[in-house]
Every structure is written in structure tokens, then in C-alpha cells.
């Protein structure tokens, strides 16, 4: 009688591509679960949702979600998403990718999209390493962490992602771990429904690589760690939420503010200068 009742995520997944490539205990699948629930709760027509990913383990999300989905190039999902969004403002354009993709090679796109308030939502899975390529040091790797390219421990100061997103202009910034499934789902709903550049960091276990190399146990141990060491501080000063190798994890919704989106600002400027000659461009935003 297996599958007499199908898993509620299945209608949103390309079941003909299962099993997925993610390792046992990898957190990325949980992100997919939360997203599917969030999509349901958001009330958005799934036909109007596009998923954009870069390259990486997380980047594979696009390929598993049965929505219009784009698996682009490494580091570039954000400008692809901006292109798609301005072409079709009525769509919800959602980016799922890893922290290496979004913040290392893709860092420039991230800060400029945040600055412009491009109306896209970025869900950044931070597993502290370039997982897909086998575990090199990443832009969020805590100091002293071991990676294949920092075999003696890393020493570059990591980015604090909520602060980076906040300081460059994101209108919604939250962080959760994969332990916080309910809160993450709620943040996803909020981001999906909020106009402008929204950034949600999701700390997720990579047992195969990051956990293992740093002797942090398997996925389950990571989840227990998240449960134990996370502290929810909504509205926390993003400057203060940096992470350390074995330190506490501050999670919560940090930023939620309003600002004209890229297309809204464009319309405002053009209308004020061109008057009737200018036909406002659709923005997809219902305020």
C-alpha cells in the first residue's frame, strides 16, 4: 500500500529524476521541503514561479523542482533572475543556490542586485564549503575550518551574510538553520510575498564534506548542534550575527523594510521626467 497517499512534495518534484544526488543527511532536501510548503502557503500559482539556480549541490534544486526552472552557470543565477524578472514582472523569480555560488564568484551580482532592489528572492544555502567540488574553502567558512584548500585551517575572515545583504540594500533578511523548518517556511512565505530583494540564509549540514572534514559529526549531529546552539533574535543587528566554527548561531528575521523595487523606481523616475510620454512598465508588485 506504499504510495497510496503520495508525499505532499511530490507534485512539486520531478519524480522521474528521483532519487536525487544529495548525500545521506544533507540539509538541502529539507530546504526543498520547506519551500514546497511555503509555496503552498503563499497562495501563489506555481505556474508563475520560476526557480533559478547556479552550480553546486544546492544549485541542483532547480532541477528537482517541477516548476519552470533554470540551472544556469556558476555564480550567475542572480543576474539571470534579474533578466527574467524585468522581462516578466508578473512572475515570482526565486533563486536557490549555495554560498560559494552566490557570494564568492557571484558576490558582485549579489551586492548590486541588493542595491538595485531587484525584485527577486534569494535563498542561500550556507554549508560553509564548496560542496559540489569536494570541499574547498568558501567565503563563509569559519576561521580555522579545514577544507581541501585550507588543509591547515582557514584564516580568511568569513562574510557574515545577513550583514552583507543588509548593508548592500536587501529589504528582507533572515537566517535559519535546517533545524528551523517551521520558521524557515514562514520566512520563505514572507520573502515570496514581499516586493524587492529578499535574502534568506539557510545554514545546512553537509555531512559528507564540511562536517566530516571538521570532525563535526554527521548530518544528525549537525542538526542537534543547530537545535542546541541556535538563538532566535528577530531584529538582531546584522553586524552582530557573524558565525564561528563552534560558536552559537543567531537566527531570526533581521530586516524587513520597504523600498521601491528596481522597476518601481524606474517607473517613478521616468514618469516624473517623461510624463504622459511614458507608459509605466509593469512591475508585478501589488502594493
Amino acid at each position: 500500500m506504499k504510495n497510496q497517499h503520495i508525499n505532499p512534495v511530490e507534485p512539486y518534484l520531478r519524480m522521474d529524476r528521483m532519487p536525487h544526488i544529495w548525500c545521506p543527511g544533507c540539509g538541502i532536501g529539507i530546504v526543498v521541503n520547506c519551500f514546497v510548503r511555503a509555496l503552498n502557503q503563499s497562495g501563489i500559482d506555481p505556474d508563475l514561479v520560476s526557480i533559478i539556480s547556479g552550480i553546486g549541490c544546492t544549485g541542483r534544486i532547480a532541477g528537482y523542482l517541477k516548476l519552470d526552472s533554470f540551472h544556469t552557470t556558476h555564480g550567475r543565477p542572480i543576474p539571470f533572475a534579474t533578466g527574467l524578472k524585468v522581462a516578466r514582472p508578473e512572475l515570482k523569480v526565486l533563486v536557490f543556490s549555495g554560498e560559494g555560488d552566490l557570494v564568492s564568484i557571484g558576490g558582485n551580482h549579489l551586492i548590486h542586485a541588493a542595491r538595485r532592489n531587484s525584485d527577486i528572492k534569494v535563498f542561500c544555502v550556507n554549508n560553509f564549503t564548496y560542496a559540489m567540488t569536494g570541499g574547498q574553502v568558501g567565503p563563509t567558512a569559519p576561521i580555522h575550518s579545514i577544507a581541501t584548500t585550507t588543509p591547515y585551517g582557514s584564516y580568511d575572515r568569513p562574510f557574515n551574510l545577513p550583514f552583507l545583504a543588509d548593508s548592500t540594500g536587501a529589504v528582507y533578511v533572515a537566517r535559519w538553520t535546517t533545524y528551523h523548518v517551521r520558521q524557515l517556511t514562514r520566512s520563505m512565505v514572507e520573502a515570496i510575498n514581499k516586493p524587492g530583494f529578499c535574502f534568506v540564509e539557510i545554514i545546512a549540514p553537509c555531512p559528507t564534506i564540511y562536517q566530516r572534514r571538521n570532525r563535526l559529526g554527521d548530518g544528525l549531529e549537525a542538526m542537534r548542534y543547530y537545535k542546541r546552539y541556535s538563538r532566535v533574535i528577530n531584529g538582531a543587528n546584522t553586524r552582530m550575527v557573524g558565525l564561528e566554527l563552534k560558536g552559537p548561531i543567531i537566527v531570526g528575521k533581521f530586516i524587513d523594510r520597504d523600498r521601491s523595487t528596481l522597476l518601481e523606481a524606474m517607473n517613478e523616475e521616468f514618469s516624473s521626467k517623461l510624463g504622459a510620454r511614458y507608459q509605466p512598465y509593469p512591475t508585478g508588485v501589488v502594493r
Binding site: P19, I21, C23
Partner: protein, 187 residues
């Protein structure tokens, strides 16, 4: 032995490639043979199809591919199904018996199974599965010496795990020898 082709195949994460490297290393550095190891794997870190090919020969071996394995070592059902068609008469097929059901086994080849996963769990570390299989291969084939493989194992595994891996090797080796004996007796 002019040229021996070996394929070791399973999931990513089972240590398939490492097993191949150790085998090749044993032959190349400790048995004085020419050895070429090539690998094929997918994008998955764990669970994807993964295979190591080792070509051994006395002379310098230039053509690096395995086309018709003399020895096929399989550690997953998909690997078995994908590669069993490649083997020819006289080939040796070694499989992990908890993970592989050797259906439609070609008659002309010799096949032996080993419950290596269970053995590994006994030893206490699932990750030594590949070394157990190596011991098994060493026992049942005669392409590399046990001496050479043991040495290569010790050189290749993380410091502090040498003992564990030696046990694993021995476990597979002994089991292999016992099967061989049984088989020899049966013949």
C-alpha cells in the same frame, strides 16, 4: 600476464576509487608492474555510479581503458547491472552480497560474493568496506601479491586508521581464501 583489466564499481562514497588506487599502487610500486588507474564518476558526492578501472601489465601499458574486464568487483546493484555484460569467459566477478544480487550471471565466469557491509559493521567502521573488498580481490585473484596490497593500504589510508584497515583487509582476504579453498575443493 600480459595485460589484466580490472573494474571496481559501486556507489560514490564506498571508496571505490581508493580501492582502485591501492590496487594500482600495490602493483606499480611494490610488485614492479605497470599500472594505470582511471576513474569514472558522476556529480554526486555520495550514492552516484562510480567506477575505477585498473589495467596491469608487465610492459608499459599505453591504452588506458578497460573494455573487457578480467576482474569485475561490484559493490552495488546498478554497478552490477551496468557492467556484468562486459565480462567475458574466464572472468572473475566479485560482489558485495548484501548489496548485489547477481542475476543473469554469465556462466563462463567465476563469481564470489562477500557480506562485506556486515563485516565492516562488525569492525565498527562502515568506511572500510572497500578495504575488505580489496582483501577479497587479493585472495581470489593472483594479479597482485597480498604483501604489496597490504603495504599500499598502509600508505594510502589516513594516519591512525592503519590498524583498522589492516583488519579489514585481513577479514576480506581470509574470507576470500576460505571461499577459494571451498571452491578448489569442490572442483
Amino acid at each position: 600476464m600480459s595485460r589484466v583489466e580490472i573494474r571496481i564499481s559501486g556507489f560514490g562514497g564506498q571508496g571505490v576509487i581508493l580501492a582502485g588506487i591501492i590496487l594500482g599502487r600495490a602493483a606499480a610500486l611494490h610488485d614492479g608492474k605497470d599500472a594505470t588507474l582511471t576513474q569514472s564518476f558522476g556529480p554526486e558526492a555520495r550514492g552516484g555510479a562510480c567506477s575505477a578501472q585498473v589495467v596491469l601489465s608487465r610492459e608499459r601499458n599505453l591504452y588506458p581503458c578497460v573494455i573487457r574486464p578480467d576482474i569485475l568487483v561490484v559493490m552495488s546493484q546498478p554497478a552490477y547491472e551496468k557492467h556484468i555484460g562486459e565480462v567475458g569467459a574466464g572472468a572473475l566477478v566479485l560482489y558485495e552480497e548484501n548489496l548485489v544480487d547477481p542475476v543473469d550471471l554469465p556462466k563462463e565466469c567465476q563469481a564470489y560474493g562477500i557480506p562485506a557491509t556486515r563485516f565492516a559493521e562488525d569492525i565498527g567502521r562502515k568506511m572500510v568496506l572497500n578495504i575488505i573488498m580489496l582483501g577479497f580481490v587479493t585472495a581470489l585473484s593472483d594479479v597482485v601479491s597480498a604483501q604489496a596490497v597490504k603495504k599500499a593500504v598502509a600508505e594510502s589510508v589516513p594516519r591512525g586508521t592503519q590498524r583498522l584497515n589492516e583488519d579489514a583487509f585481513n577479514r576480506g582476504y581470509t574470507y576470500g581464501l576460505s571461499l577459494k579453498k571451498k571452491n578448489d575443493e569442490a572442483e
